[in-house]
Symmetry: D2
Subunit: 333 residues, 4 copies
């Protein structure tokens, strides 16, 4: 059974049904009935007026947002292990036209207001050094740790004071919210977030992610940048339909809860092995090479994560017997 990534999980049946239901003639690009409903649906979800764009990858959502928030000649503060720095092949540099990622440290891949202040204070305010224009945080983080609304708000306050925009990479925002029990609104726009990459693909979607702008005035620019980057699909209705299916009846939240619950089940099997607290759907476990091999021998697949660590990611559809077998196997290492 595969635990190396929630990216590999299947799409939820309701998502497939929504795609099939959208398979009739409509207009092209995002003028169709599904795409046109997105602004309203996400505005309702967030309790404020937003502009919502479908895109097909988190990298596209992140980079389009960053390009709108940071000019080519400035920088984006993020964690050294942020996905935009580590795993997007330099996408932010491409989309922004050469803006600089300014890397900070922090436990569990979290940024803190103090670290941001310190990082900013180390930059001379002149034309020789790149000045920051934005902050990007990931929630849940790359290590499966969850920012609480108050933590985001503290970062948002620093951002506001320094005139920096705030972006949230929410590839697993659903898992974060499912974990904290806090509202989407509290952890995003009420905390000062300007743009959110709202992940659905890891959470039961097929190939639709959402870019949410809490500053509607950015929408025109983002729409052009999306087209220009080849991310305006001609049959966009199949993306709009996926997102609406995920919102319908809070399927996104239900799926995230299921994935989180699976992670908790595994975490409970070996609490002493956890590298980080398990707050979303990722587990980082201390295991020896031999132990890792034994788990693989039992049919479980996952990533090695540096020396003596492995990463397990649970998905919306993982429960029942296989999960119990893995938990037992971990417990018995």
């Amino acid at each position: 059974m595969r635990f190396f990534s929630d990216n590999a999980a299947p799409a939820h049946p309701k998502v497939l049904e929504a795609i099939a239901a959208a398979n009739h003639l409509d207009t092209a690009y995002d003028g169709d009935e599904w795409s046109r409903r997105l602004d309203g649906a996400f505005s309702d979800l967030f309790g404020t007026e937003v502009r919502a764009f479908w895109v097909t990858t988190g990298t596209a959502a992140n980079c389009l947002a960053l390009a709108a928030l940071c000019p080519p000649y400035r920088g984006i503060i993020c964690h050294r292990d942020a996905h935009i720095e580590v795993d997007e092949a330099g996408g932010p540099g491409f989309f922004t036209g050469g803006a600089k990622l300014m890397l900070l440290d922090g436990e569990g891949a979290k940024l803190t207001p103090d670290a941001i202040e310190e990082g900013c204070n180390a930059i001379r305010n002149d034309v020789h050094q790149v000045q920051p224009a934005a902050i990007s945080i990931t929630n849940a983080t790359e290590y499966g740790v969850v920012y609480r609304a108050s933590e985001v708000a503290a970062i948002g306050a620093v951002a506001k004071q320094r005139g920096l925009a705030l972006h949230m990479d929410g590839a697993r925002i659903a898992n974060a919210v499912a974990s904290s029990g806090e509202s989407l609104a509290d952890v995003t726009w009420r905390a000062g977030v300007d743009a959110l990459s709202f992940g659905f693909v890891k959470n039961g979607g097929l190939n639709a992610e959402a870019l949410i702008l809490f500053r509607p005035e950015l929408a025109d620019e983002v729409a052009v940048r999306r087209k220009r980057a080849g991310h305006l699909l001609s049959k966009g209705r199949y993306l709009g339909a996926q997102l609406l299916a995920m919102l319908d009846g809070d399927l996104w939240l239900e799926n995230a809860r299921a994935a989180n619950s699976a992670a908790q089940a595994l975490a409970a099997a070996a609490p002493q092995r956890l590298v980080y607290p398990v707050e979303a759907n990722e587990l980082f476990l201390k295991v020896t090479d031999q132990e890792a091999e034994r788990l693989r021998g039992l049919g479980f697949d996952f990533y090695d994560w540096g020396p003596g660590q492995i990463r397990l990611v649970t998905s919306w559809d993982q429960q029942g017997e296989a999960l119990e077998r893995l938990a037992a196997a971990i417990a018995s290492l």
Copy 2:
């Protein structure tokens, strides 16, 4: 009934079936069993070794190809009405880092060897003027006209002699081949084409296009550029599956023939109104505003195309009674 774009047509049922059939756990990105079969499947189709990448839009396919074929400081020769110039929001400039589109004229949006020679000869060979690095042609053209293999080969010969790469925007290459009866091989790599944007979405696909590289040594660079541009989908198998479904039993050709046939039926209704010969699935008709209004009043939708012209595009699924009604309506104008 909608004739404004083949982009608005539904996906073919077999494409939806293939997506559903791919909906089980596999690996992420393009390491899955479907994506891994693409190189082989397209190499078989073209009768030569190719590298095939799924992407979700023609703009992505075009621009990734052009970025691999043209450095930022050179230019791409294309027709003044080419899609890359007119309808991609400056995407080529974005992907290449500022390369210049060098616009030529030509009947039916076709380039000719003579026009290319003349265009090149007008450029001083110094560092002040941008030197071309590539040629891009569209087949079928933006006006629904088809390049024969011999015509492409003549352009390919000029390209080779001048050290220029040759790209083909094949958003409707299926319609072109279905029309000419020539082989895909003859009209592409045997004629000197280095990279082909092979369109499927307008032809019954859902959201998968293919970028075909006839120079496999470009594949590593294109793979990185695709990722960097946010076009490496995590659940790529749903794209790979679509393409395989389209290739299976030559569905791509069958669909294109159906669309072409629909266009012929309409063309036959009013041959004297045709602005260009109807060789693929697009018709440009001379009609007055009043005539256009009358057609719309009968429930047919299409684009106005400059003063006194309309554009009709037929799709793989258009046949039968509605088509006959439109043909009759055009004939009786």
Copy 3:
């Protein structure tokens, strides 16, 4: 004697003296006493508050201005024969990150309000087509024709109405003003110009040009872009000193008058051969190949300019016997 370009002329002795006079220890970049005086000196010259930056080339001045006035995803309207299109190796594409030059026709390389309106009206207002953000005009034009203040103001009015910025490439603005007798203020900011590339190198400077911003709020961005493009020289005082020497006693105007006068002397020799009215320091003459050869045989150097035409450019230091010989030679062809 060389008439192929005012770029090849020597620097004025006062410019060399100013460089020598600046050759003592001061601070680096543009913090020195000369550079710091530029804003004030140019504000006095223009009769309004401006921000003035030295740069070493007209291409740098043009492209820095355009990058500040046009985002990567929009376009710059200019004449088909504009220097930024024809002779800057794609610099605007590089500096802007891929913005598109939108080419218009016009007599003598001049844009007109009507041509601009028509060009804009031909662009569909959607995300597929690049929307303009700026207009760039050259004064004097690439064909030595001069925009009057009223003509610029008419273009400025269109720009304002359509929300477009207005840039003037003033590589030969001195010659234009010397010719029209109008004020620098009237032909620039009072006419709606936002940024001016103020040329000095062709007019007796050594290697200092000025970028003048009539919108001071753009200065911070331009300062960073200048540094980032490698155009912030460490010993900037030698550039500042050149510009101040050129402004001192209106040397810039005196030099331009001298060059214009030389051009008039040549133009008077063969008025029937002029392709364009001679309003600045460039002449385009209709001559046969044999006639051109005869002139070259007499020791005069110039560019061939398409079939049957030559271009002569006069410089600030050209007068006296050699000039008279050339005039006589032209007259006697």
Copy 4:
């Protein structure tokens, strides 16, 4: 007396003389007699065939070289304190189109083969992580430490083995060579350096730096990139003349020796205060705030360099009484 930067020093009289001597009519750009002699003069100097380009800043030299050595989608390995990372306003990102600087640590701002190996090994070889294409080292480093030829050669060997290009930022290469007594050839191309930014402005030049390509096949691309970036000056002869004057009689080496000697005089005054060995013309001294204030009170100017440190830079023209007074003042702190 100013010790904050060698950028602030005057130009050498011979450089000014050379500029004055070049002040007669010649051809434009780099077709003049001085510019045309550069390839030969530098080839002689290096004992191998090179291509030499004048530019006006070190940032331009560095970034043009890096753009030729690293595609937009790859990375450049450099020290965390490298000038290209810290003090060029993101220029490398701009010129390369978004390539990533990959930062390593190392004593005295030096890279070592081990650090490079370790850095490379930490990068997963897939499309998600940016792969390096080049290494850039600074000699003398930003802390005034000098790479010996053997050290560069060791880095060159790693570069070659891994298929990476090697760039040297030689803003103070003259000081490095004057210090080590090694040959320019040994410390550059014989050690595997592909491109060198050869600094002259800090060393008595006025505003001419040289970009030296040890791989002549890169020259055409660099020439276009230089033009496109606005760095092809029309009156280039004044730059060519400066460089030739600096090479003439090894003035570059004489000046560097003088600056180094001044640094040694200061270093000898307080060896126990040195943060780094003084090998070129920069000193980093441990002094308290009060001590720094006392030095400033005596009329000496310099940079604070983090808490408890100051930076002094000596120039080619600093000797005699003022220098002795500073040495004495440091000794007596």
